[in-house]
Subunit: 438 residues, 2 copies
């Protein structure tokens, strides 16, 4: 489908040539993300201001052109794929820090800023922003907001939704709205901030965000605990989550993941980080189990960093093992982890598909990696099991295209109808990321 020429002409009249690409080769580069999906847009637009976004949306509305916003394309479920063509909106040029205010524990940024840039700036002042997805070095804050990204620290500090105070956004109707604000709480009407977080670019384009910061801990302790089998490791996860102190990370790796990291023995490992002195005694005690093989404590910052580097590299290591990988990120209550992992083992055998499991065990959030090109029936059984265990489809990756067919498993029809109604309020002409979520 070629774009309406009058639409393109109107944009060319309003913006600098560098803000609009229409060559197929250029568009191709913005046509995919970290899912296996691709759909080619007819134009790529680079916004420099919130007003640019507003103007673009108004033109898209007028000419009925679909608009898909893109962070840095690191998302796995396909949310940034321009399914119906049209325009891809990049916020790469909106990457400034607008305010860094440690006394009020907040930072205001443009949505195109890379997450690590935020962390570096906050670090200089003695603070950090809690979300820490594996792709922090490349992904954008806007993408974190779109998907409600999380990461290991979420077990103690929450996900993106728990760490944003306010937003500036442009709705699908072309209206600029400001949600939330500079205060740490408020009780003034409906919470549009959290509604936009996790909405995957379907309601409004977030252009600026006020981020809630936490003070850097005085000290961090990290260690790995190796167990003979999964049930021992998961019993320890439950024991850790039942005592008073929350670890700042509680990651689980199964034996397949361990092999990728070069461990030949052991059935499961926990990687644990603690950022308060008091928690050490309790958490180390909770790690004891008769099927514990050993505990290895990172003695230096460098050793600690090495531990986490290995964890971060698991995803790419998996790609070496198999050309195909279906990466799910289901989540269940922590006490349902033993049953979930047992079911995954049974399904792996039933469908003869290797499944590698690791993830944020403290949240009950497991990255289930099916080493297969396609596995629709196995996936369906996994999601059914997760729902039966009071869990849900995604802990932090989102729905996008990949998990769209499974939404009715997780949500009431009436809740989906409400969501569709809300979509229609924000985006009456359905121009924002059409074909996603529902």
């Amino acid at each position: 489908m070629a774009l309406n020429q009058a639409f393109l002409t109107s944009l060319r009249e309003m913006f600098h040539p560098s803000q609009l690409l229409t060559d197929t080769a250029d568009c191709w580069l913005y046509s995919y993300d970290n899912s296996r999906h691709r759909a080619v847009a007819e134009a790529v637009f680079f916004a420099k201001t919130t007003q640019d976004v507003q103007t673009l949306i108004k033109q898209c509305r007028q000419y009925h052109v679909p608009l898909t916003v893109r962070g840095r394309g690191t998302g796995t479920p396909g949310g940034a794929v321009p399914l119906q063509g049209g325009v891809v909106l990049s916020l790469d040029k909106m990457d400034r820090i607008l305010l860094l205010d440690p006394q009020n524990r907040l930072m205001k940024v443009e949505a195109g800023i890379v997450t690590q840039t935020v962390q570096n700036a906050a670090y200089e002042k003695g603070f950090f922003w809690a979300p820490d997805p594996g792709s922090s070095a490349y992904c954008a804050v806007g993408g974190n907001i779109g998907y409600n990204a999380a990461g290991p620290r979420a077990v103690k500090y929450g996900a993106t939704r728990d760490n944003v105070l306010g937003l500036t956004a442009v709705t699908g109707a072309g209206d600029i709205i400001h949600t939330g604000g500079y205060t740490t709480k408020s009780a003034v009407g409906y919470d549009l901030t959290r509604l936009l977080i996790g909405s995957e670019g379907t309601l409004a384009i977030v252009t600026e965000a006020i981020l809630k910061l936490h003070a850097l801990p005085q000290k961090k302790y990290a260690f790995r605990a190796l167990y003979k089998n999964i049930s021992a490791a998961i019993a320890v996860v439950i024991a850790i989550m039942s005592q008073p102190y929350l670890p700042s990370a509680l990651e689980f790796l199964d034996k397949h993941a361990l092999k990728l990291l070069g461990f030949d023995s052991g059935g499961a490992m926990l990687l644990i980080e603690i950022d308060e002195e008091n928690a050490k005694k309790n958490i180390l005690a909770a790690c004891q189990h008769e099927e514990l093989i050993d505990i290895h404590i990172a003695k230096s910052d460098k050793a600690r960093e090495k531990l986490w580097k290995a964890r971060r590299e698991l995803s790419s290591a998996l790609r070496m093992l198999s050309p195909y990988k279906i990466n799910e990120d289901v989540i269940v209550p922590v006490t349902a982890l033993p049953e979930l992992l047992k079911t995954l083992d049974e399904l792996s055998q039933k469908y003869d598909i290797p499944i590698v499991n690791f993830g944020h065990a403290g949240n009950g959030n497991i990255h289930v990696n099916l080493l297969a090109k396609e596995a629709p029936e196995c996936l369906q059984e996994i999601f059914e099991a997760v729902i039966a265990l009071r869990g849900t489809l995604s802990g932090e990756h989102g729905i996008g295209l990949e998990k769209k067919p499974f939404m009715p498993f997780a949500l009431d029809q009436s809740a989906i109808a409400i969501m569709r109604g809300i979509k229609n309020v924000f985006d009456p002409d359905n121009i924002l990321n059409p074909g996603k979520l529902f």
Copy 2:
């Protein structure tokens, strides 16, 4: 306006007589809350189940009867006043604990349960629910959810919105929806949980809630610090909030509030609670100031409880001082507190109205008590100042009737239009708490 007899007959056919009161004397008891407003409903309905609520809403829709849900009537801005008559829905009979699951750090309750009952049950298992409004002993969890209630602990643990994982609710269209769930994070469509929290009964009737629990701290430390003047006390608030450790409470009292508590000297006081050992040194150091008069540490649990009891009794003590009291709860970024308090002092003089200020200084949330029957111009100037300081109308009390006229000060017209659109999606016939918020 008398209720349609066919409507009443239909309810009488479907429910036990004890579930429906229509005597004027009975209705009178459910016609007011802790605001100064009153409007008499024509019937009071006591739901026992979510299905009861659904049936009631469907009948209200059919007969166009307004429906106002009521917690325990402790709210101050008038949200529970049945402005347009109709039916008041009480959830007092829905007060059960459905699940208490310490291993997953959650608790599922019916919305009519009293907040203190939740705290007592959680305490038995070594946990607590973070929201702690001054009315905890009387108010209902459903009311806390309606207003996004908070309290002193919010400075460290957040408000209601930060401490609820999922909801069961019945929309104004009569559909039962389940939002969120039993997991500590999720990325599955729009966040309807947080959207309903703080929506003041205008979108849906929340009947059940899954509450996020925190482990009880091993030890608490409480002390009061008396300063010669407000500027010293607020400088210390900013110093405390700028260092790494968050106190679990950081309350401020001005000299008028101090007098009510029997302190004849001193210009301002901070009441501080710390629930982690490590924080003591830093926070006590931050309390030092050349205009510090003294620090008094509560040496026992009993002494600590006495300190907080005095704080809790401030509101009722104020009622002794003046027959009239306008109780606002504006919020600004912490660093804007000096300017806010200076402005309040100037307005007190300008309008010759005594103003007593105290509140949750760590959140920048000040309870501004105007000892006057009416003060519309002064209030308007207060809200204008708060907005200019990047704050907002309410930190935890909500909007209800009282602050409805000021909503356009705090929100964009386009954001209000979005909120009205969302209201229409949930409640197409505008039967739920009509006339509130907007």
